[in-house]
Symmetry: C2
Subunit: 225 residues, 2 copies
DNA sequence: GATAATATTTAGGTATGCCTAATTAAGAAA
DNA sequence: TTTCTTAATTAGGCATACCTAAATATTATC
C-alpha cells in the first residue's frame, strides 16, 4: 500500500492528534463524533491508515488508536497550515476571528509548502493563532506555554487571556464583544461555589461579566502577579 | 439531478470556457487533452453536466459542447477566483509570476466568496492578473481591451506588453529575465519574413531580443503612437 | 457471573471521477 | 460511393470515502 495523504486523511490525523492530547488513545466513536462521520466509516479509515507503509497510526481492534511518528508529522504539518492560515486570514485579509476557523479548515489541505513559507515570512513567524493556540514551528515543534483554565482562578487574581479553545463562531463573537480575546487582561471578582459561575472584570472594556463553567473551561490564561 | 459544483466540474467548465473563446464548440478530444484526461472520461462528465437542472452545457452526441448561461457563470466565477488569486499570490505573498498559476489552480476551488471579496478589496479591485489576463468583475463582466499579437507588429512600431498567454513556468521565467512582462515597453527592430522571427528592443533593460513565432503569438500588446 | 447497554466491527451499497478496451459514428480520401 | 482514419461513445472496472443495518465485542450493572 502506498503512503500518501488526502484531504480526508489529514482531517483524521489532525482530529486524532487533538483528541489524543487529553486521552492518549482515541476511541472510534469519539473520533466519529468529532469528524461528523459514522463510526463504521471511521473503522474503515483507521484500518487503512494503520496498514499503510509506514503506518500513520497504531490500531488494535476495540482498543482505539494513537498516532505513529509519521502520523503525528502529518497532523502537525496540517495544524501548522491551519493556524498560520488563521493568523493570515485575520491579519492580512481582515477576517473576524470567529470566521477564520472554517475558512482555514478548507485551505489547510490545499496550500503548498511555498505558500506556508511565504505566509510565515509575511506574518513574522507568529507563535500563536488568533485563538491563542500555539503554531508548530517549521521543524514541527509546538511552543509550550504555562497556562491554566480561567475556571481555576481564585477571586481577586488578575490574568491575561492566552487562548480560547472553542470554535463556535457565535460564542467567539459573544466573547469578543465582551473583550474576552487573547491578550485581554481580566480580574476575578467572585466565584460562586454553587453553580460554578465566575464573575470577572475585563480591564479595557471595564465590563463586568458572569461566565458559566462550559465557557470558563475553554478559556486559558496566564496569571499576573 | 441536483445542481452543485465540485472541483472537477469547475475545472471542466473553466476549460470549456477558455477553449470555446476561439472555436465556439469544444470537441471531446480537445477538452480531454486540455484537462489531461481520457476522452472516454470526458464523455461521461459532459453527459452529466448537460443533464443537470439547470444544465451547465449543451451537448449533442459527436458534436461537442458549449456552455449554457449557468455553466458560463460558474466558469467566470472560477476564473475570477483564479486571476484574483494570481495577483494576490504575486503582490501580497511575493510569489514569482511564473509560479502563481499552479497554486491558484488549486486554491480557486476552495476559497469562499468572503475570501474573494476580501482579496479584491485588499488588492484594489485589479482588472488584470500578472499575465495581463482580464479579471471578471464582481458581476462577472470581463473587461475588454484592444490588443493585438506581438507577431502582428511591424518594424519600428512601439508597443506595451499587455498580456502573456503561456503558462509554462520555464518560458515565463525566460521572458521576465528579458524584461518581457506586462506593462513593459518594446520596439520592433526587424521582422524576418523567412522564419517569422522578430527582433525587438526592450526599453528598460535596453536588451535586444529575437523571438520565434511560437512565442510572439502568445504575447499581446497595445500599440503606442 | 449473567445480562443489559454501549462500543465497535463487518457486510453490503452508493456517488464521484477516473481508467482501458472495444465499438460505433463521422469525416476525408480514393 | 466505398474505404480508411480519426473522433466519440459504450461497457466494464477501480479507488476513495462515505452510508445503513446487522453482528459481535466490551464494559457496566445487577
Amino acid at each position: 500500500m502506498k503512503n500518501q495523504t488526502s484531504q480526508s486523511i489529514e482531517d483524521y490525523l489532525k482530529a486524532i492528534y487533538e483528541l489524543s492530547i487529553k486521552d492518549g488513545r482515541v476511541a472510534t466513536t469519539h473520533l466519529a463524533k468529532h469528524l461528523g462521520i459514522s463510526p463504521a466509516s471511521v473503522t474503515g479509515m483507521i484500518k487503512k491508515l494503520s496498514q499503510m507503509e509506514p503506518p500513520y497510526l497504531n490500531y488494535q481492534k476495540h482498543q482505539g488508536v494513537f498516532l505513529t511518528e509519521a502520523g503525528e508529522r502529518i497532523a502537525l504539518e496540517t495544524l501548522r497550515h491551519h493556524r498560520l492560515l488563521e493568523v493570515f486570514l485575520h491579519e492580512i485579509l481582515g477576517f473576524p476571528w470567529d470566521e477564520v476557523h472554517e475558512e482555514a479548515d478548507k485551505l489547510e489541505h490545499v496550500i503548498s509548502e511555498k505558500f506556508e513559507e511565504r505566509m510565515a515570512f509575511v506574518l513574522g513567524n507568529p507563535e500563536h493563532d488568533p485563538h491563542g493556540d500555539p503554531i508548530p514551528n517549521k521543524e514541527l515543534n509546538v511552543p509550550k506555554a504555562t497556562m491554566i483554565c480561567l475556571s481555576d482562578l481564585r477571586p481577586h487574581q488578575k490574568a491575561i487571556i492566552k487562548r480560547v479553545r472553542d470554535k463556535d463562531p457565535k460564542l467567539l463573537r459573544f466573547l469578543s464583544d465582551l473583550g474576552l480575546i487573547p491578550n485581554a487582561e481580566i480580574e476575578i471578582n467572585d466565584y460562586s461555589e454553587f453553580d460554578g459561575n465566575i464573575h470577572l472584570a475585563v480591564k479595557n472594556s471595564s465590563k463586568n461579566v458572569v461566565l458559566g463553567p462550559r465557557i470558563t473551561d475553554q478559556i486559558h490564561v496566564s496569571i499576573l502577579n
